[in-house]
Subunit: 285 residues, 6 copies
């Protein structure tokens, strides 16, 4: 397999693939396939898109089939990030028929989820493609699959926000509430942060924003503000920090939000509510 998805090494994918397969194999393995398919039968199949969208997760699908049976070959007709139509043959797999059938569901589960994320990300990204605003994901990812889902967002044309709690500081409403002071929290963070750690602060009002900008931070998260307020906020920031909007973002609202001039729009739905991408395995001979 060529490791052609930037940023997702084999070592991060393989254990997830194995965990998914063990979950499906149980103790006794694939009874249906053992019962109905001769051991020495060689067969082939196509992975075929049943809808249009952006493909992501081909590495996972390939790893799945190869973990089931190393004799299976996996030929890609498209690569991650390619747009496909309903009916597009995405990949051709060939090898022991039992392995093809045993790996089918897990491989499709990976492709369905990750292509779903890439496809939804792409829709948002496309809606603002002519503007400088970027589309970002959040930490609202599926537990245990964050590395895969962050990658699918990149594949779909989005950018990644924090990977984990240790790679940047993002002071949110509850931090401020529990700390008791917006300025106090921001100043503590600035004193604590390492030189390679950026600091972002979530604000709900322009007053909060002004308070933050007086101290100075790397980025501000403008939460649930109307486009007009966002415009005002962008003016207040005046290039001194990155501006990120979040809250109430959907395909109807994103254009207005972006036009308010923010640098980033972050959308939890990219990873927590992307509908599954419809893809199937069709017998090919």
């Amino acid at each position: 397999m060529t490791q052609n998805i930037p940023g997702l090494p084999l070592l991060l994918m393989a254990p997830i693939v194995e965990q998914a397969l063990r979950e499906d194999l149980g103790i006794g393995g694939d009874l249906t396939t053992i019962a109905t398919i001769p051991e020495d039968l060689v067969s082939s199949a196509d992975l075929v898109a049943r809808q249009e969208g952006i493909i992501a997760g081909l590495d996972l699908a390939e790893l799945t089939f190869r973990a089931v049976d190393p004799l299976i070959t996996f030929e890609r007709w498209v690569t991650d990030g390619d747009a496909v139509s309903k009916g597009t043959k995405v990949a051709h797999i060939k090898g022991p028929a039992r392995g093809l059938l045993t790996g089918e569901r897990v491989a499709l589960n990976f492709l369905g989820r990750l292509s779903g994320i890439a496809t939804l990300t792409h829709k948002f990204a496309k809606a603002v493609a002519d503007l400088p605003t970027q589309i970002a994901c959040t930490r609202k990812t599926t537990p245990t699959l964050r590395s895969l889902e962050k990658q699918a967002v990149r594949v779909g044309g989005g950018v990644n926000h924090r990977y984990a709690l240790d790679d940047a500081i993002l002071i949110k409403d509850n931090h401020i509430a529990m700390n008791g002071s917006l300025s106090g929290a921001v100043k503590s963070a600035k004193a604590f942060a390492g030189h390679m750690t950026k600091i972002e602060v979530e604000v709900d009002t322009l007053d909060q924003l002004r308070e933050v900008m007086e101290i100075g931070v790397d980025a501000v998260l403008l939460d649930n503000m109307a486009p007009e307020t966002l415009k005002e906020a962008v003016k207040i920031v005046a290039g001194r920090a990155i501006t990120e909007a979040s809250g109430g973002v959907n395909l109807s609202t994103i254009r207005a939000i972006a036009e308010a001039g923010v640098d980033m729009i972050s959308i939890g739905a990219l990873t927590h509510s992307a509908p599954n991408f419809d893809i199937a395995m069709d017998f090919a001979g």
Copy 2:
């Protein structure tokens, strides 16, 4: 914690919770919280529904906070399966403020996904509540989270189909295609199956159905059939097998499908496309 979700022992949940937290903590832990919250601050918060629906995953949320800090207490105002409205306080958590903030996102990620599944399942189940037809999930679950998602379906009022490839035989289109003979595949399966293993066969046409029923199986999966065809199919089966419909099921079509008289309707979307349930953690003092 009371282990009050039938069927999901602590032992199946704990490793997933720990994996999710490690994914979020990285090497350095929660920098924001360390930087902004005094170590000895005790605080409390509420988990509050932001939409109406069915709650699922409270055990996971509780396990998450306790894995972060065993001193956190988790008081439930509702239990899994309860219907909530926008604004319902679902649980009250109290303890070291740092732990509350560090566990927040992972706990909400579990609750959002699982309550989303329970809520969607409930919608389908409610739509046919006056009919004998049951709503079932499939193996189209999120890789590594099948046990949790199957449980959320039960919580929402659905029933579980196979858990894994080794607990029942389900002969699908690709098995038939690769075997080359519908009857051959079914007969092989009957010869192979242990006495505690049920056999189901997917059919696309009434002719296939008649062929299967001549041999006899425990259940038939009627794939992508129109309600009229389903009615015909139910007549052909005539109580000799369980009838399960799948394909093209949504909230507009389910009623007609159920009224065709099938015993079960299985829906992949319950687990692969349920939108996240909106729930948040609000500072309480």
Copy 3:
């Protein structure tokens, strides 16, 4: 390696092999072999049966040697399920001498246990080979090795009962005792069970059997009944459920039990008390 044991994917075997080898290697590795065998010595050996019986576990033995040193080749003279005599050469292994010696004990431990199970299963199965009765194993398996042992039972000519607690319902004496009502327990189970889950009930008396059959279940476990009582039970069931006998089964009693007309005889001893199969590794040059 050809994956020629139906139902036991590499993915289920490899972690057990690695765990077994790590248990044997400790921190320092195989001191004896390092001390006495030159690093570049290539050698070969035969795995030789020291008794007659049925071979099982060749995949495990091969995986063991290859995990120790991928350069070792493993040539099989027989396949799992073959009957061998004392002195039969089962496999020929060749490669770095150190690897052959380091892997020897773990490989033989797998072959000894699994061939022991296959051999004992075969004795029972042969005793009733002319009758329709099948020989089944139970959940009385060695902790952590259930998948391997269930497979060895299949290899020896037996069939598998439940793999795990989630793939069928088997209401046993303690369930009935704690529930307080035989009928109550059975009815609860029928209400709960998914459409792909079979239900079996253990009964100790014909009265209990009649009570169960009035409700109707998929199978009945007739525990510790004398052959005459079993005959009576089979009559009562009259083909409406699968009949399984258990308790007091040994090679002297099995014939009479089978002749009583039960469909299955389940035997815990297949997996919990099978004597080790005697097999050794002989230097071959």
Copy 4:
């Protein structure tokens, strides 16, 4: 739990217990118990010996029940190493009925195997109790369970041979064959061994024994020698090394072997062929 088995820390037992339970729980958990037992039912049961013998594995049984439900209490009427009769109540367990039933089989599987080993070891040890000869186990243990089985041998009155390949040097027939020279192999081992590592050599003939004793080692393994030959061997060794007999050892032959004057008799069957100890869980109210 009191950690009262010398030498087997919680840390070595807990992962095996969890692995065994997960193997049994699958994805869906204990369907039978969920279906038939109310969630809030508290019950109690006794673990009762169904045969006479030596109990081993109580820690494992207790850990099993507590891993299923921490609310279960486990009261011991006997301790590991105690002799019991048919009908002896070994332990009393009390707590949520579901947990008792879900843990039953795994707990009994541990007790059955480990008490079986202790019981068989005890029979051999008792047969030579008036002689100085000790009974030892080998590395012919069940893959993944060596620590538990070695412990059960100690509990039954035997002593442990090597735990793993790195804690002593034992030059066996195949080492000599592949090395090509008995003396050469022994001399290499003496040059290599650390100062805390003992060296033992397996010999088949008295000539080999003399060759070894000229070089000098810590122990000799006298393989498959008749009692008269063993006596001769003991004379040749003359207290300069520990003498260990192996091969052809059973309850009929052990007395004669021990009377030949060897220090140790090692028996693979202790761990690889001990019949399961019959023990059950009986409902107590």
Copy 5:
């Protein structure tokens, strides 16, 4: 245990402690302690510094003893970060004597390594305490222990550089060499980096520095420059980026380097070459 080391949750420490203990326990456990100490003996001991320095790793030591035996209590006389002298009692532990002895070495190994790192860090930090320059660690940590070692650096008064490859961009000499162009590499990084990801570039010469500053980055790593060159570099940067010096840093040179005006000095030796801190466990009754 109070979780009083900011940033190192239990969840990151516990698996490392368990891995370390299993490594030391082998299959048979602590033979010496079992052999020489009665099971019911309760005893106590002090952890006593044998040199002056800064203590780090008390959580690890406590977790070690509690993993061996939960009955052991661990009372701290100092906390992580405290300066101690030769003879300072660091902690008092009390409980089952066997547990105290079995946990001793692993607990001391953690304390020795982590206090060694904290002590060395403190020496460097103290040397420049009156200057604004900060002392930072690198990714030259012990494989598998990075989280602990990064934490020990913080405890000793240093700050953390990147935790992992995914939390900041640091373009080093080999990246530039393989890319072929300094400017090209920096520009690619700027185009790729997410909005929360800082970018640092390593430069060896002032010319390289000027080239980088024309493009603009968050930080520059001034590698192996003499104090005079560093001064020049600081002037060139002129506050537009964080300046970090590395290479040739030791306790004799650090003062001059810091006085050159750099913001940070990073030192691989903090984690890869800190001498062990001498600490012992003394019997206390």
Copy 6:
């Protein structure tokens, strides 16, 4: 890869390598490399010693690069145990440039630590090379890396003491203190020890030594004795046990200690305080 380090099988190394890489990759992978290096660029580099010393850990380095990208080739110019000078090219690696850069730090971290240990061990061993005294390591190893570090000691010319608590008995001061009697502890140990387990006792005074020698043990650990006292001790022992000195050993004192005639000198610093060996990866085209 040739498995040419006696005693360290692939199976013990691979999980540590993977753990180290995952620790460095985080969720997002190597951002710097992805950002600056084209995916299809092939490059090569040399691992070059920056100081003189003894190389150890080449297997780990090779495994690291291959785990990152199996297409990377690793050509060794030296083997473990070879002495190198500043500038010696140790290995040549070639393959996808991204993989070379992503694996660089982890590979160097292994080589730096293990070559550091081998180099320090070699210095001690060389200092007494003309004497029969051997240099041994202790259990003062880095938690989780004991197998690698013990191996590096062997590579450097030292010998290994105990690997773990279960492979020999070493009665230390705290065992004696808690037991309450030196003789009592030694006698208990002799009664308990298996026939393949050596017994060593730590003594602080010649009186203690005489007390131990009256009972008889395999080895004595003479702790913190001056060379003259050691000489006296060696006389008292008179060849009846192995004599091991420890405490206060450094390169200035070792000669005198060895000349006192002890068989072994054990040094914790070999593994707990060896300075990192300076080695770098240089771009080669």
